[in-house]
Symmetry: C2
Subunit: 336 residues, 2 copies
């Protein structure tokens, strides 16, 4: 699984960082998932290889504008680009009414269905390759983390059982291997009964805004990667300069250390932390503070940074894939 | 008055052009007005000298998303940047309910007042330097043009009248000159009664989406500049490849020629027209077609292009003003 960061600023965009948006790419490279959709997330996509046709589902962590104001525009653009496949949106209940009211207000009619799943009552959500669960966090408004777990980690056929059950070699085996259930000689054969998985599943936990990382202890079991906000340093929070509801670099790092999380990616930085020092502060303050509490692999996310969680549980940086062709030239969209 | 184009694409953003947004700057250089606010208009502002503190009013031409989806984020960011001055928004009625519902859904509370003025019933709107009127256009939804007229074109004092009325020289004259009404010796003196204007007022007409430029004939009287959409060429429209509701380069240009409009700026281009030719089409097709029908000064708008209407009615290009300092460093905003 790859992560492609579309926005890593908290509250408002800066010239270097957009508001929240994060792409999670399937191993296959075809489909992807969007976690949060701040304003101009669709604009960021134009600078990546991701397309609105490949989008399989959207997950929203909470209702604050910097995490969802980009939804109506992105959905409308997907329609203009000719998307017809239904789209699942997993989001707090209030989001559905607002998205539908927004599309109606602007008289935008989508050529595809929106299927909303309220996060409040989510048991789990599945695609062919992934299982997603939600964990309630602590913030000024209800906020959730989403845990993405691989469901088919490098399967191989259970040849012994296939032979034992008298399933003949050939195309049937291929179907079962690809995860499809089949009928044969009056029998119903379930793919999962004939597959063996050869390694632990990959698991990534992606938090929404949250002032209590400890709430993620269970969700983080068997995860190789935690992606979490670190809006401020502890020094700024202690000086009373920070709003309630957010984590500091220190608290997230100490939590990750306490559970021996091997990889930690921080994001959602206050605009006071820029690359170049400003009023004595810079993004390096976040890195330094987290580094004091955490001994695993620490990464500070940047817009358009792409990370790969490989099959041995390591996280590595992937070169940026910039699409130099204009998105528009690929579509034949009507105009608004 | 200067115009600073923030978005010149129709429907959806491309890598080169954002969706609609246009800044109109007062001669004084301090205040500015925003016409339309597509998604990521606030992001475009980060690349200009314009600030959310200097914004005097917002005018929305119609409810389509590419003209208004950027409003909630821009208003929220103005709040985070500490704006306290009330803000006038002149927009179709449906916009007010949607903006207020959006802010409530996302639990965003602005530290300043929003004053909505429905375009449907607008007589005129005034600032100290400008008068704005709306003209109904023809589109798939109700759409308007806004006409901006200077109210104080280079005033000088009517000394003869001041002397005749016995108004003593001194600070009183200064007040009247600056446009303030004053009381003196029990008399109420209106500034405008003692001023002479030394040239014709500047007037700019800015159209929303519209398939009938002819509707702007009256509004364009005594205007030096018309800014209008030209979504397609006539060839594309005739081939049935274009949606209803828009103008072609040919129809706008022919209209501008028929009223002897001295300056015409086209914008809101279909994404099929890129700088580099693509499938045999480019933005030069728009220029060529308009040029066949119009003999005045023709300009095709680009994102971040800045134009100045000078006092003799000429339009000239102004060098780009890029703010290299990060916007965020100027504010001390809370985080979302």
């Amino acid at each position: 699984m790859d992560l492609l960061f579309l926005g890593t600023s908290s509250g408002a965009p800066t010239r270097a960082r957009n508001v929240s948006g994060l792409g999670l790419l399937e191993d296959s490279g075809k489909g992807w998932y969007l976690i949060d959709c701040g304003e101009a997330t669709q604009h960021q996509l134009l600078r990546t290889p991701l397309t609105l046709h490949g989008l399989r589902a959207i997950f929203i962590t909470h209702v604050h504008g910097d995490h969802c104001y980009g939804l109506p525009g992105l959905l409308a653009s997907a329609g203009m680009a000719g998307r017809q496949e239904p789209l699942d949106i997993i989001a707090p209940t209030a989001i559905e009414g607002w998205v539908r009211a927004t599309l109606e207000m602007s008289q935008s009619w989508l050529p595809y269905e929106l299927n909303f799943h309220p996060t409040e009552s989510l048991k789990e959500w599945h695609s062919r390759l992934l299982r997603v669960e939600a964990t309630r966090l602590s913030h000024r408004v209800p906020s959730w983390a989403y845990t993405f777990t691989e469901t088919r980690p490098d399967p191989r056929l259970n040849v012994e059982k296939l032979d034992h059950d008298g399933v003949p070699r050939g195309p049937l085996w291929g179907e079962l291997m690809r995860g499809h259930n089949v009928e044969h000689a009056g029998r119903f054969l379930r793919s999962e009964d004939y597959l063996l998985f050869t390694r632990s599943p990959q698991r990534i936990v992606i938090g929404g805004d949250n002032d209590c990382p400890e709430l993620l202890r269970d969700a983080c079991q068997n995860a190789q990667l935690l992606v979490h906000e670190a809006t401020y340093t502890q020094a700024v929070a202690d000086a009373g300069k920070a709003n309630f509801g957010h984590s500091t670099a220190a608290t997230v790092a100490a939590f990750a250390e306490s559970i021996q999380m091997p990889n930690l990616v921080l994001m959602h930085f206050s605009a006071r932390y820029q690359s170049a020092p400003n009023r004595g502060q810079s993004i390096e303050d976040i890195r330094a503070e987290a580094g004091q509490h955490y001994s695993g692999q620490l990464i500070l996310a940047e817009d358009l940074m792409r990370l790969r969680l490989n099959k041995t549980g390591q996280v590595e940086r992937v070169e940026r894939h910039v699409r130099y062709d204009a998105r528009a030239s690929k579509t034949n969209q009507p105009d608004g």
